[in-house]
């Protein structure tokens, strides 16, 4: 088995590298990037991050954003920070199916994996409207249904807390040197966005394999890679590209890549319904074809982001493979009973995986585990600055 795959490793790496990294910006394009883009290090083979013109990245802004991200001053009752639901060691997820806000409200969906979130073309599980991290920050801060950070109506209090802090006034000045009064809501969202853009995960075993180190992954992981990128399992259609997500945006793109998919997780009562409040893009668009359509998030560090799916309803990666092998989840009883495999909006790529042997399954799992980037999960630059 192993010997069959070994000779193809090099050829494969060429094929997949071109698949994954084709369309990268060339050198000429790169020179036109906004000043400061280089403070966020990305592999040379990756396209450049999109950075809004009015929010260039600087080291000072990243550091300010990092402090804000980890600071409980950013919740109404000062019990939670962004990091309460986005834990670095879990690739900035929280290990729960759905998150719990600062006042005890339970959210409808799970905390998003923030690895390479600066490359995401859409930020939320089911909202095509939220396209920048600056805008997205307003959701958890000021959303009320459910309450997350619970800052609604408390913007003056928040600015007072930051203004009276011994550190923040100077940090805001350094991050926003052109502003006479830099402690304001717009700059808070800009700093948070910039810190999140700096959360680059690019050093998993699979990355090292693509970079030319044939020994970076095992034979089994390589077998899993071929299954992942093959037409039998069809994983890559929605989780393709260098970021393993088809909702990816970067410099040099001529087209907007915004995609949401119904993967057949539910089909309540056989009517095409999803559990209440969790109908994906439909909640925003009210278009029936959007019912059950959710973003395909990055699979980077996927082994540490359990439980899975937008609502955490699949506990393990094994469960996820069961779901895709079957071509949708069958909920046998309870309020959500129904066969997701028969959902009318289901993606054409979720058709079940034929002849999925135990070896195939083990290999695909091994590959998914090889997407874990230990360096990212422990990088001090992304860590809690208040810890001592």
């Amino acid at each position: 088995m192993n010997s069959l795959h070994r000779p193809s490793a090099f050829a494969l790496s060429i094929v997949f590298v071109s698949l994954l990294f084709g369309g990268c910006g060339d050198e000429a394009e790169r020179e036109e990037l906004p000043q400061g883009a280089s403070v966020i290090q990305t592999p040379d083979s990756w396209p450049q991050l999109l950075i809004p013109e009015d929010n260039p990245a600087t080291a000072e802004k990243i550091e300010l954003g990092r402090h804000l991200f980890y600071d409980t001053k950013l919740s109404g009752n000062e019990t939670q920070s962004c990091a309460s639901c986005h834990l670095q060691e879990l690739s900035f997820t929280d290990g729960r199916g759905v998150a719990e806000g600062s006042t005890g409200d339970i959210t409808d969906r799970g905390a998003m994996n923030l690895a390479n979130i600066g490359y995401a073309s859409v930020l939320n599980w089911g909202n095509p409207l939220t396209k920048t991290l600056e805008e997205q920050a307003l959701g958890p801060m000021f959303g009320e249904d459910p309450v997350e950070l619970g800052l609604t109506g408390m913007e003056d209090e928040l600015l007072r807390r930051l203004s009276e802090d011994p550190q923040y006034p100077l940090m805001f000045e350094e991050a926003f040197p052109d502003d006479s009064d830099p402690i304001n809501l717009g700059n808070i969202t800009k700093a948070l966005a910039t810190f999140q853009r700096s959360l680059i995960s690019s050093n998993s075993p699979v990355d090292r394999f693509f970079a030319g180190d044939d020994d970076a992954i095992t034979e089994q992981e390589l077998t899993g890679l071929t299954i992942f990128f093959g037409e039998r399992a069809e994983c890559f259609h929605c989780h393709g590209g260098f970021n393993f997500s088809d909702s990816t945006a970067h410099e040099g793109q001529a087209f907007d890549q915004t995609a949401f998919h119904n993967n057949g997780l539910y089909n309540v009562g056989g009517t095409g319904a999803y559990p209440e409040r969790n109908n994906g893009v439909f909640e925003v668009s009210q278009v029936e074809a959007d019912r059950g359509r959710f973003k395909a998030p990055t699979l980077r560090n996927i082994a540490v982001t359990a439980p899975y799916m937008h609502d955490g309803s699949l506990a393990t990666l094994e469960d996820v493979l069961d779901h895709y092998e079957r071509g949708g989840t069958l909920t046998e009883d309870g309020p959500n009973a129904g066969d997701g495999a028969l959902h009318p909006n289901k993606s054409q790529f979720v058709n079940g995986i034929d002849d999925f042997t135990a070896e195939d399954r083990a290999a695909l799992l091994a590959f998914l585990n090889a997407l874990t980037d230990e360096e990212f999960l422990t990088n001090p630059a992304h860590s809690d600055p208040f810890e001592r």
Partner: protein
């Protein structure tokens, strides 16, 4: 109510300077000031935070306000010939920008602790000098401002309480009330829904399928003596306040909106608009 609503044109000339009107050289037109007074009531009683109002809805239930704010836009006076003459809003950097005015009937006291201390019951602006007999305005925020970046928006569009982040817009009306005597409480968050398919969002458009911007016309209105009353008792008259999911959140399938939308001049659940919640007195 005591203030003089129509000031002398000469005063207005001073007021208009620097208010950001970019109309092209209508310097010959005389302008007059107009101030339109609004009131928020429950029946005949003025709304105030910390007061329990009873006998509401089909169940005669009780509510106590936690918030009561709403935006108006596209304000015009109607002249004797029936023409709508737009009111140029006075941009005061606080309650009004060039397009939108915020009316605010909560003062942060008592149950309204998430609000703001200041109150506002007026829309202030200018119109060409003339005699006017009617009023027309829309609730809500213009589409082009409804999806702009809220964090850096100009007042009154930078109030986080009015953000409606899940649709990337604003709450046009925000009325929050907790239940009295075991009633579950009731809210109205009016906003645009069905905003942008994935394709439209990708193109940078976010035209909402349901704008939910009622246009309210009062043929007989004298700004110097009358006010526009938003009556909560009339608003919830058809609602069963003992059986509310969360109140009306503007969703087309939200059963809690079925009688509320018609009362502010919008269809819902097959119920035609009747517009009973606003009146002039």
């Amino acid at each position: 109510m005591k203030q003089m609503k129509f000031m002398a044109p000469v005063l207005v000339g001073l007021l208009v300077v620097g208010c950001g009107d970019d109309s092209d050289g209508e310097s010959g037109t005389e302008e007059q000031a107009v101030s339109i007074t609004f009131a928020a009531k429950v029946g005949t009683e003025d709304v105030s935070c910390g007061t329990a109002y009873t006998g509401l809805g089909t169940t005669g239930s009780g509510l106590e306000f936690e918030d009561f704010r709403f935006y108006v836009q596209d304000v015009a006076l109607i002249d004797a010939d029936g023409n709508e003459v737009p009111v140029t809003l006075t941009n005061d950097g606080k309650w009004q920008n060039d397009s939108v005015a915020l009316l605010d009937f909560e003062d942060k006291s008592g149950s309204c602790s998430n609000g703001t201390t200041d109150l506002n019951n007026k829309v202030v602006g200018t119109v060409p000098a003339g005699d006017y007999t009617g009023l027309v305005f829309s609730l809500g925020v213009p589409p082009e401002l409804n999806h702009a970046e809220a964090a850096v928006a100009e007042s009154p569009l930078n109030l986080t309480s009015m953000f409606w982040s899940w649709q990337n817009g604003y709450k046009f009306i925000r009325i929050d009330a907790k239940g009295v005597d075991g009633a579950p409480g009731w809210r109205l968050h009016l906003g645009s829904t069905a905003c942008a398919s994935i394709e439209e969002a990708a193109d940078g458009e976010s035209a909402c399928g349901n704008l939910n911007v009622p246009r309210l016309t009062f043929d007989a209105f004298d700004a110097s003596t009358q006010s526009v009353v938003f009556d909560l008792a009339a608003l919830v008259a058809g609602a069963d306040l003992e059986n509310q999911e969360a109140g009306c959140m503007s969703d087309p399938t939200d059963a809690d909106c079925a009688t509320i939308f018609p009362a502010i001049g919008l269809e819902h659940s097959g119920n035609a608009a009747t517009m009973s919640a606003f009146r002039v007195e």
